[in-house]
Amino acid sequence: MWLKKRPRSGTDGSLLGSLPWTLLALGVAIAPHLPYLPPWITLIFIACAGVRMQIERRRWRLPGAWIRLSLALLCFIGVLGTYETISGVGPGSALLTVMAALKLLETRRRRDQFVLLFLSVFLIMSSLLREQYVWSLPYLIVGVLVTMTAWLQMSVSEGSNVKLALRDSLRLLTYALPLTIAMWLFFPRIATPFWAVPIDTGSGVTGLSDEMSPGDISSLSQSDAVAFRVRFDGAVPAPQDRYWRGLVLHRFNGRTWSGNEPTIGIRDNWPVEYLGSPVDYEVTMEPTRRHWVFALDVPYEWSLDMTYMGRQQQLARTQPVDQRIVYRAVSYTDFRLEPEMNRFSREYHLRLPDANNPRTRELAGNLHAQATDDRAYVDAVMRMFNEEQFYYTLQPPALGRNSVDEFLFRTRRGFCEHYASAFSVMMRAAGIPSRVVLGYQGGELNPLGNYLIVRQSDAHAWTEVWLEGDGWSRVDPTSAVAPERIETGMSAARFDGIGESWGLSAPWRVMHRLTLAWDMINAKWNEWVLAYGPENQRSFMQWLGMDDPDFRKMLLSLIAIVATLLGLVTAILAWRYRPPRRDPAFRLYRRFIRRTGVEPARGEPPLAFLERLSQERPSLAPQAAEVTRLYLETRYGGTSGTGIERLRDAVGRSFGTAVP
């Protein structure tokens, strides 16, 4: 077994040349993991690397098997203790790092170094699973370059010529890149994973929750993280139309609004009349790990598999969105939703818990009695929010059991959720069916790429009330309190407003522009590289002219392209390894000889050949003597520059033709 005592000899310093490169490759591979690794693992790696280098330099012995085994055991327990699991990217990369560190301590031969380089490749791979930024691509290329240089460095027997190894690996990489791109484009992508593996990306994904409880101490997400980006085929809709429908909440228990689980609806039953002109757009959505898919209110068509529309016009996917997805969609901003409502549905959307929020009910009753009809009542409530002392704030005070009563009559401070909830309750209390919609509102237009950035801070809640003749109509009570929130959006308000009020307008704008430029690069990166999945691949293949692309066709074209590119590599190599260009004098001389029809023997010197030629072809003797003389003069005399011209003439004359 591997614990068997091997004769322990000192290291012989043979790895001294290549070991630093192996260490460098490992270092490059571990670097992106450093922010996530527990410090003790980093320390162990650095210690092992230093100790190993010193061992090689001083020709010491490697530590014995028992020391290594106990170290390995300790490290394993340490990793298990830190992460409480060994599956996932975090513990996986920690284990790989520990393995690399310990493997260093038993690296005796080149074979062991190969193991280290394989580990370095796996470490690079696991860092890519964790994060895929724009700079991850150059990083992976540099990582592979360093690994390959270290690899070549191992094979170098006599002395170490790093420059040569670096040049060789650069050249190999250059040849490999077109192949890589072809494989990347054509390798058929599949939608469903083979087995579900939790991806712990390290940071929690901010997004909308499935419920809404205004009054819990939950300050609205202030995160600048991008929720999704939208590119419109035509004009960008006006700010007041930029409502991104997410989920619909229609159950209220007095404190918390909740909705149905995502359901699969049947299109024929959707009681929607689409009015006006459609809006075509493409959404690149960041992963949320939830089922909801966002679309402009209200969606009509979408190109995303396993995604269905619920009865309340919300889109949901049967599988959580745990990867960045890209989809095209068509929406109508002008619509009539469920113009006819059955009794059951009406009663359902009027339900309120009986013993709850009594003052709100009373207020609703009074206001409704004063109003001429439902529309006038809606306006009255909106006017109340607008004219009375209601404030829009992101840090509202906490609310108690009768959250709506407390909000309307006591605190009067809140953000969209508070207003949507209160408004909806007011409607229901007055006998108007209502519900709350969660989604995003607004978004910042990036003039550099002409697309809309919708951030987590744009998350929003609004209400829909059912009015006779109009069906479900969107009413956004927040707009009555803070109209700028709706018209200019959160981020724009923050940048411009604060910037100007502080008198920092110009620098802020420059910063803002840089931010937008960076966002555009990221948007392109997400759109073209990261989101290249089954759908994008399909449309790319169709764009290339492949009709009805499927697995088989793509694989066949992949093979054909790879074969072609490899043929090209062969051709380039053949060209690189071509024989050196011969001396022009020699070529002229060869041409003359070929025309004489007499073949010189191997290694026969020109004068000896001339003698033989004169005997075999006496008629050619004078010309041959002339040509041979000129050839020897030009080749070995090396003084006159006109020799080559005279030789050309002589060769031409000898057969009565000009030599080009």
Binding site: I124, T180, L566
Partner: protein, 349 residues
């Protein structure tokens, strides 16, 4: 006659196979034997100068190459599972590097000129050194080339553009006669040791092996003086006695180089002291238990006599070399000893 050969079919198939490792090894030996036979049949015999055409270069992945392929495949499965386009990129980059490395590995040998640059005779027990010249008639560097045979391999070296280099294969010898090198190869693992490309060459090379000199030889037979003055020692080069036309076998030290520079004719100096004494080394009169032992003794005597610059003659059953001296004579005598057919002798006796 000893010869370096790949194991014959008999020697592998007979022993009882005990373990799985042996089974695998036997199977591998059988496959490699088949491959060798096939290649020999396919390629035919090579001249002593051979150009490595791409058709005769073979390539197979190494163990490391297999592990690399397995790793890449694992990474492909991982990328597909996570649907991660960057790790797809890394996977395909590694796969492409593998493909490109394969082409480089093969190309590293294509177009090389391999030629036999001689093998000097050795005494049995020494290593016969076959010199194989490899020339790179191209504009790019050739990396990590190695000449190898069943029992030996050369140093690993690079060849720059247009560069030529002599690789040395040291083949151990055991018996007098010829040591044969029916096959050798040239191989490379460049660039990443993922693939091994090689070419087999069948030049039917051989190297003469003189008999092994006897360790403790009896005294040689006495010299007989032909002119009577034995006070001169055997160097016999005292008195210059004129020039004569150069004959093959004359020592270069005796060539009149100055005269050659003047006239362009090769002349040898003659010395009156030459032919002072001569010695017959006779197989029939050599002590020894058997023919091989006698041949060894004779070998030692020849070597000693040559070192002392004496004239000596060699008499073997059926052959006779009259007394003279010089490198050519020494070689002729040792060659006769090396190739002496002892079996025929015992038939006669």
């Amino acid at each position: 006659m000893s010869s370096i050969q790949w194991p014959s079919p008999k020697s592998i198939s007979t022993p009882a196979i005990e373990s799985a490792g042996q089974l695998v090894r036997a199977a591998r030996a059988r496959i490699s034997r088949r491959a060798l036979r096939w290649a020999r049949k396919r390629q035919g015999r090579d001249a002593t100068v051979a150009n490595l055409h791409s058709r005769r270069i073979y390539i197979l992945p190494t163990g490391i190459g297999m592990v690399y392929a397995l790793m890449t495949f694992t990474m492909l499965l991982g990328s597909m599972n996570y649907n991660n386009n960057l790790s797809f990129g890394l996977t395909f980059l590694l796969a492409s590097l593998g493909f490109v490395a394969m082409h480089h590995c093969q190309r590293n040998l294509v177009g090389l000129e391999v030629s036999f640059a001689g093998a000097d005779p050795v005494f049995a027990g020494q290593s016969a050194e076959f010199r194989i010249a490899v020339t790179n008639h191209s504009r790019s560097r050739r990396h990590h080339l190695e000449i190898y045979a069943a029992e030996a391999s050369s140093d690993i070296a690079d060849l720059g553009p247009g560069e030529s280099r002599v690789f040395r294969l040291a083949i151990p010898t055991r018996q007098r006669g010829y040591v044969e090198l029916p096959r050798f190869g040239i191989r490379t693992l460049f660039p990443f040791e993922l693939f091994r490309a090689w070419a087999w060459l069948h030049m039917d090379l051989r190297c003469l092996v003189y008999p092994r000199p006897a360790g403790d030889p009896p005294a040689p037979p006495p010299s007989r003086s032909s002119r009577g003055h034995r006070q001169n020692d055997a160097r016999g080069e005292e008195d210059f006695a004129g020039l004569r036309r150069f004959h093959a076998g004359d020592s270069p030290r005796h060539v009149a180089w100055k005269a050659y520079a003047r006239s362009g004719e090769l002349l040898s100096k003659r010395f009156s002291g030459a032919d002072t004494s001569s010695q017959w080394l006779d197989f029939a009169l050599t002590p020894g238990d058997d023919a091989e032992a006698r041949l060894s003794v004779l070998t030692t005597w020849v070597v000693d006599a040559d070192r002392l610059q004496r004239d000596y003659g060699l008499r073997l059953p059926g052959t006779e070399f009259p007394p003279t001296h010089g490198d050519a004579h020494r070689h002729r005598c040792l060659e006769a000893l090396a190739l002496f057919d002892a079996a025929a002798l015992s038939d006669v006796a």
